[in-house]
């Protein structure tokens, strides 16, 4: 059977790992069961906190700049510069049309 120290080390380094040994230890050791519950809660909080909102249509903008329709057409132009130029053009032409 895993020692308490081994179990805690596994939980801290690889929290998603669930083995028979871990489940058995949880059943037999109340202190480690409490440690595992706290570790699970902390990991859920960490995961929630890290999953910030992703900008809408991020992937479309990226694919547009990468133009995957043609491998040979891959541009060397900086997408940052390109998107800024496009945004400026859109402001100019957008305002003329409005």
């Amino acid at each position: 059977m895993l020692s308490c120290e081994q179990l805690r080390q596994i939980k801290l380094t690889d929290p998603k790992r669930v083995t028979v040994g871990i489940r058995l230890h949880r059943l037999l050791c109340p202190k480690c069961a409490c440690f595992l519950d706290k570790a699970d809660a902390l990991d859920r909080d960490v995961e929630d906190a890290l999953r910030i909102d992703v900008p809408e249509s991020l992937v479309e903008r990226i694919l547009c700049s990468c133009d995957p329709a043609s491998a040979s057409a891959a541009t060397t132009e900086s997408p940052r510069l390109r998107s800024r130029v496009l945004a400026a053009l859109s402001r100019i032409f957008g305002s003329r049309h409005s």
């Binding site: 995961e47 890290l50 990468c66 995957p68 541009t75």
Partner: protein, 161 residues
Amino acid sequence: MTSVDVGRDFESAARTYSAELFRFAYWKVKDRGLAEDLVQDTLLRAWKAWASLKDRHAGKSWLYRILRNEIARYYERARLQMQEGAELDELPELGQTGVEQGVEMQNLLNALPEQYREPLLLQVLGGFTCAEIGAIMSLSEAAVMQRVSRARLALRKLAED
């Protein structure tokens, strides 16, 4: 593989990984606009070499490596110092940072030194194993295990303080 297949394969990878790459970049630079630019640059760079990628299963790790390089390049350009040298015993006291008890986890994560936060990001956001993180960060698996373990212990300590 034809160029159409390469395009489809790349598009599939971009759709699958762009969100997690954005989140990783955001937590590295703390700026949504910049994170978006960095992910865009990363995928553009990847697209240019996508046809030469031999192992499609390694595509995800490869994208993270490119993104890390892009971020490093950005910091080099901006001449900003990353907090690589900081140690866990230098963690600010919550009171010193103006963070109250019951603070959100995002603030606790921000308090972690970069060298501990980054492997945690790769594990939680990227779903990488410690060995894979080691390959991405040029560290041994044991070093990664130590860092993610210490990161969790530090978060736990900060959350309990």
